[in-house]
């Protein structure tokens, strides 16, 4: 079950499509927004809600990289590693965050606040290097601006 507000939102989204199943990606975003990641119960519930089999939902979740089936930090620090960002120092940004937070790529800080992730092209190539924190974009980042940004996240 989702919150009443999200149930209403999902009901509305389902009306966008001639088949309920089309709402699976939006439904998974709702699950992730509520629980931080997609839980086993979410998978079962979404399957029931959209007339899908559990494995059909599972195969969708595991295909798309923006969903997580494990708990992640409150803030997902997603460093773009693809060419345009790499040419302008993305690797240095990633290493800087690793040292600052004492975690490796794909790891979460002990307090559950930050998860560091390496992601492929975010579409901000002309504003490289780029860092996405949850859904927020940060362009032309430097080690200094990353410090300020991370220190400011509560």
């Amino acid at each position: 079950m989702f919150t009443q507000a999200n149930e209403t939102k999902l009901d509305e989204i389902i009306t966008h499509y001639p088949v309920k199943r089309s709402a699976v990606l939006p439904a998974l975003y709702i699950a992730q927004e509520e629980h931080g990641y997609v839980t086993d119960d979410d998978v079962k519930y979404i399957a029931q809600r959209l007339d899908m089999r559990v494995n059909e939902v599972e195969e969708v979740v595991t295909f798309y990289t923006m969903y997580s089936r494990k708990p992640v930090g409150k803030y997902k620090l997603q460093v773009c590693r693809t060419l345009s960002c790499a040419l302008l120092g993305a690797e240095k940004i990633a290493e800087h965050i690793e040292h600052k937070l004492h975690i490796g790529m794909g790891e979460t800080t002990a307090d559950g606040k930050f998860t560091l992730m390496e992601v492929e092209c975010l579409g901000f190539c002309d504003l490289a290097p780029c860092l996405q924190v949850n859904f927020d974009y940060h362009e032309k980042v430097t080690t200094d601006s990353v410090d300020q940004l991370i220190d400011g996240l509560k």
């Binding site: 966008h16 499509y17 001639p18 088949v19 199943r21 089309s22 709402a23 699976v24 990606l25 939006p26 998974l28 975003y29 959209l50 899908m52 059909e56 195969e59 969708v60 295909f63 798309y64 990289t65 923006m66 969903y67 590693r81 693809t82 060419l83 345009s84 790499a86 040419l87 302008l88 992601v119 492929e120 092209c121 975010l122 579409g123 901000f124 190539c125 002309d126 504003l127 490289a128 996405q132 859904f135 927020d136 974009y137």
Partner: protein, 426 residues
């Protein structure tokens, strides 16, 4: 230089408001299309414009539209491909965040021309803030009668929705996008049938890139001939280029088709960073063959000229690399991308991209074996033209072109060669 699509960019997002859009000439093309044009005449006008698909393939838009059957038992759909994920490309991002109504108006006109009552904008999940911008703009368009039932009293109905992807490059491939929109994994479909005949939910479907659809209102207002005259004979109109990498002023620039590549780099982008020397350019997004500095000198940015130089205009993502760049490293970076994004559906791409990367990894440690450069080239050959969709080709072409043109950057990574170099130095 005439600008078509970026005239509202300087408003920095104010044109997201429908009233600002209308004050600056917006929503004039839609009433004109509904009153003065028959659907077929719109398709003819788009054909005249020589507009070609701006997502990367460059297929003539009017022709694509004409493949949609007039009569269909199943509903027809217009789908906007806003899954912009081609490395080096960020133009659709600005077209949507600075001027969402331009796209929406183009989509409604496309719907009218094709006899479609429903359209979707499939936008990459990372662009969540743009999804919200589009949803607000669509709500305004409904409120003012540009969407919904009986649009402007014409009897034409059209509904429009935004659908988020969730981080899969493959969903930019039009049939994988349709699978994804139907709530499945983004695996490409066998073609034919092409989406124009059997597409979304089995209905005839036109899938067009953001930039392509955003041009449509301008063709209605000023005519196909006018749009064509802005570009070259075979590549009509203007084009947005995203320039990234080693330039002083990277960004999105709208220039006429046929604009010289070096002018784009030196004028629009203020030249190479730090006054260094140009080494290479990837002219159309990461999937296209790389060009040497020498090859760039006389290229104009249109489909024919870039093809004649052995590359492709693609999505218009221009990645510039100066003399400090190592083409082995840059090619390895992109191979990682394709390995990660290969959807796993077909063997040549799934296995080939992983194997390529494995060879790159040992070469990166300067432990390449004699014959590894040839092995990379041969592996790419085994993917090229043999994969289920174009992702395989996109992974293979950069590798082959980089080896052909920048062989020394690869040879340096072979252990045997290093020993020879060290011996010679002794």
């Amino acid at each position: 230089m005439t600008k078509v699509l970026t005239n509202r960019f300087h408003l920095k997002g104010q044109a997201c408001d429908i009233d600002v859009y209308k004050q600056t000439g917006g929503y004039q093309a839609l009433p004109k299309a509904l009153k003065e044009f028959q659907p077929d005449q719109i398709i003819e006008e788009v054909k005249k414009s020589a507009l070609r698909g701006r997502g990367g393939a460059g297929f003539p838009t009017g022709m694509k539209w004409s493949f949609v059957p007039k009569e269909s038992k199943r509903p027809k759909y217009v789908v906007c491909n806003a899954d912009e994920s081609e490395p080096g490309t960020g133009k659709d991002r600005d077209l949507m965040r600075y001027d969402p109504h331009q796209l929406i108006e183009g989509m409604i006109i496309a719907g009218f021309a094709l006899g479609s009552n429903t359209s979707y904008i499939y936008i990459r999940g990372e662009y969540w803030f743009i999804k919200e911008i589009l949803e607000k703009a669509i709500a305004q368009a409904y409120a003012q009668g540009y969407l919904g039932k009986n649009i402007l009293g014409s009897g034409f109905d059209h509904e429009m929705y935004v659908h988020p992807g969730a981080g899969a490059y493959i969903c930019g491939e039009e049939t994988a996008l349709l699978e994804s929109l139907e709530g499945k994994r983004g695996h490409p479909r066998l073609k034919p049938p092409f989406p124009a005949v059997v597409g979304l939910y089995g209905g005839p479907t036109v899938v067009n890139n953001v930039e392509t659809l955003a041009v449509v209102p301008h063709i209605i207002m000023n005519g196909g001939e006018w749009y064509k005259s802005l570009g070259t004979e075979k590549s009509g109109g203007t084009k947005l280029f995203t320039v990234s990498g080693h330039v002083n002023n990277p960004g999105n620039f709208e220039v006429p088709m046929g604009y010289p590549l070096m002018s784009l780099i030196n004028n629009e982008c203020g030249g190479i960073s730090g006054g260094r020397k140009l080494k290479a350019v990837i002219p159309g997004g990461s999937s296209v063959p790389i060009l040497t500095a020498e090859e760039c000198q006389n290229i104009t940015m249109d489909y024919e000229s870039v093809a004649a130089a052995g590359s492709m205009l693609g999505s218009g993502g221009v990645i510039v690399m100066d003399e400090t760049a190592d083409i082995f490293e840059s090619t390895m970076n992109l191979t990682h991308f394709y390995k990660h994004e290969s959807c796993g559906w077909c063997t040549p791409c799934r296995e080939g991209t992983r194997w390529l990367y494995k060879v790159f990894e040992r070469m990166k440690r300067y432990e390449g074996r004699p014959g590894d450069v040839e092995l990379l080239y041969d592996l790419a050959d085994k993917i090229l033209g043999k994969s289920f969709c174009a992702l395989g080709d996109a992974a293979a072409m950069p590798v082959q072109s980089a080896i052909k043109k920048f062989r020394e950057d690869f040879d340096r990574r072979i252990k045997h060669n290093l020993i020879q170099i060290a011996k010679a130095a002794d």
